[in-house]
């Protein structure tokens, strides 16, 4: 029954003001703060840096928006990204003798990343929707599994991509189209497609229905298991996409790759206005959330106004403030 979502959507429509504007206001405030603290803040180089480094978390957070909207959670994405990166690097190194260094090698590497991400998401989704284990537990478990598999693959050290292959693959992170870096383009595409999928497709509506009330969704002929599984598979694929952009940056992966990415992605989703209990999701809000998180880091580095020991505290305060602004709008109803 789409009744629940329809009502929610309607109510949102009426009280659009603060609830929607909260994170956007926070973002604008941060941009003004940054620009006033340092004249290089709005320079082409710095803007590119910030957007490009947001891309990894951003691409993952778009997928996380669907998972959370459908009432789930995925704690394994950071470890999964490290694992996918490790597998991708090892596969590419192994394929150099047969494929040589060239476009086909990079394509094969990308395919490996997508397939690994897909499979990892499928396993999470299967255990959660078919076997019926709590998402928190499944993904907490797989978080540990992927993390230690990565450490094991790297033998406790770092997996590095072959030097020539890396030089060839490097432009995927550092170059771009019309002066816009590839990670930014991919992030934008993923965000736009995600927004469309959430707003305009049955899949988006089914996610919201499932997150709002599983029983009602089931009686409304939503294939609950399949939708839930699809959200985790989609997220796994997007982890693969993020990894494809990540590997050319430093050409390496280790046990410390992607640590706490899951929390950053989840925080970005919530800052953006998606409800943690599920039932309502907003992809563009997630994008704003991701930008807020990486801007805070950037501003703290550029400004060095406070002791670096306090960076974490300032981040925490801004994250909470962004959500408080949003909740004030909501508490009116």
């Amino acid at each position: 029954m789409t009744d629940t979502t329809a009502t929610t959507g309607h109510r949102k429509g009426r009280r659009i003001s603060l609830h929607v504007l909260g994170p956007v206001l926070a973002l604008i405030a941060l941009v003004i703060l940054g620009a006033s603290l340092n004249s290089n803040f709005l320079s082409y180089g710095n803007v590119t840096n910030v957007l490009a480094r947001s891309a990894f978390i951003g691409i993952i957070a778009v997928g996380m928006t669907f998972v959370i909207t459908a009432g789930g959670i995925d704690l394994s994405v950071g470890s999964m990204a490290a694992f996918v990166a490790g597998v991708m690097i090892m596969a590419m190194n192994a394929m150099i003798p047969t494929l040589g260094v060239g476009v086909s090698l990079v394509m094969a590497g990308m395919a490996v990343a997508l397939v690994t991400g897909f499979s990892a998401g499928l396993i999470n989704g299967f255990l959660i929707s078919k076997v019926g284990i709590e998402a928190f537990i499944v993904t907490l478990g797989s978080m540990g599994i992927y993390r230690s598999l990565t450490t094991w693959l790297a033998d406790g050290g770092t997996l590095s991509l072959n030097f020539d292959a890396r030089s060839f693959y490097r432009p995927v992170y550092y170059d771009g189209l019309f002066g816009i870096a590839w990670p930014i383009i991919v992030f934008a595409l993923v965000a736009i497609l995600g927004e469309l999928a959430m707003r305009k497709t049955p899949f988006g509506r089914h996610c919201a229905a499932l997150g709002a009330n599983e029983q009602v969704a089931k009686y409304s002929a939503v294939k609950v298991d399949r939708v839930r599984m699809a959200t985790y598979v989609l997220l796994g694929m997007l982890v693969g996409v993020a990894t494809i952009m990540y590997v050319p940056r430093l050409g390496s992966a280790s046990g410390s790759t992607g640590v706490l990415w899951e929390l950053e992605a989840i925080a970005a989703v919530i800052i953006g206005g998606t409800v943690l209990k599920g039932g309502f999701g907003r992809v563009w809000g997630t994008v704003v959330g991701v930008l807020i998180l990486s801007l805070i880091d950037n501003i703290l580095n550029l400004a060095s106004i406070v002791s670096p020991y306090l960076n974490g505290a300032i981040q925490g305060v801004i994250v909470i403030l962004a959500v408080v602004l949003q909740r004030e709008g909501k508490s009116a109803d």
């Binding site: 340092n38 290089n40 803040f41 320079s43 180089g45 710095n46 840096n49 480094r53 450490t151 790297a154 033998d155 406790g156 050290g157 770092t158 590095s160 550092y174 940056r249 430093l250 390496s252 280790s254 046990g255 410390s256 790759t257 640590v259 880091d297 950037n298 580095n301 550029l302 060095s304 670096p308 020991y309 960076n311």
Partner: protein
């Protein structure tokens, strides 16, 4: 307070009785508890621990080893308790995950008459361990600082990447600051890169946006140096500055051997210190060689000329 003193006295007596005794036909078990290989340095440490154990088992058939790696302090405590309860160890070599939570469990082991060797991170109560083996954090900062002071002069600008906020990091940075004091070098900024490649990459990108004139970078760790070098390369400023990392990661040492002008020197902080600790402990058990005391492994300057001695191609770090 009093009870503790009595225990200490008892422990000392026991230690004297059960300490290293030279008896060739007797067999001994040595427990080794170290953090698991979650990042480059610990990966190297795990490798050297395994290598040392293999070597010693071949040399001394009467020695047996129990190796346990732990991902957190609580698991390390459990591992140590298990070693004492089920394997009846004669000596314990431990790199405490954290000083505070490991202090009383290790003290309890000591009170049962087991020889205790502590590596790298000290316990929070002094005098528990029989042997202390560690790298030289003060020296690590000082040796790097001395190179900066020798090479740079009045008005040159540097930036510094720090590790995870810890006392260890503070000791290094304080020693570095002391070494460059009076040289007129201008430290533009210090931020935490958390000994992590990605974090260091981001911090360095921001330093490069913020400052037009940087002459050198103290990255303080080779994992961070990798991220720093990449950020400098991206900004197209490779000719403008050089980078000093630390700990001697094999990829960095390799580049130094190839004569990379951006990596003039490096400073050691060897993960192989665990091998020193295990070897000395074993030596104390199988012979009458006195090994009690403190063994601080100096931090040395690696240059392109002597880099080959510090290159371990088989180690993961």
């Amino acid at each position: 307070m009093k009870r503790r003193d009595i225990f200490k006295g008892a422990a000392l007596g026991l230690a004297l009785a059960a300490g290293p005794v030279a008896a060739q036909d007797e067999s001994y078990t040595i427990g080794v508890a170290i953090p698991s290989a979650t990042h480059g340095f610990m990966g190297g440490l795990n490798y050297h621990a395994r290598a040392a154990i293999e070597r010693l088992e071949a040399t001394y058939p009467q020695l047996e080893f129990v190796l346990a790696t732990a991902g957190d302090a609580a698991k390390m405590v459990n591992d140590i308790e298990d070693m004492v309860a089920t394997r009846d160890i004669d000596a314990l070599v431990v790199l405490p995950f954290e000083s505070e939570p490991l202090t009383s469990p290790v003290q309890a082991v000591k009170e049962q008459g087991v020889w205790v060797t502590v590596v790298d991170r000290g316990l929070s109560v002094e005098g528990i361990e029989d042997l202390y083996v560690a790298g030289d954090n003060t020296g690590f900062g000082r040796v790097a600082g001395e190179y900066f002071a020798e090479t740079l002069g009045e008005g040159d600008n540097i930036v510094v990447l720090r590790g995870i906020p810890t006392t260890l990091d503070n000791e290094r940075v304080d020693a570095f600051n002391a070494a460059i004091e009076g040289s007129g070098i201008n430290v533009l900024d210090m931020q935490h890169g958390n000994w992590n490649r990605d974090d260091a990459f981001n911090v360095m990108q921001d330093f490069l946006s913020k400052y037009d004139d940087i002459d050198a970078v103290w990255a303080a760790d080779d994992d961070m140096a990798v991220g720093v070098l990449e950020a400098i390369d991206q900004a197209g400023r490779s000719g403008d500055m050089w980078v000093v990392g630390g700990a001697g990661m094999k990829e960095i040492i390799q580049r130094m051997m190839d004569g990379d002008p951006m990596l003039p020197v490096n400073v050691t902080y060897p993960p192989a210190q665990i091998a020193t600790a295990i070897e000395l402990t074993a030596l104390g058990l199988v012979s009458a060689t006195p090994v009690a005391g403190r063994f601080i492994i100096g931090s040395q300057r690696i240059t392109p000329e002597n880099a080959e001695q510090y290159y371990f191609p088989d180690s993961p770090f």
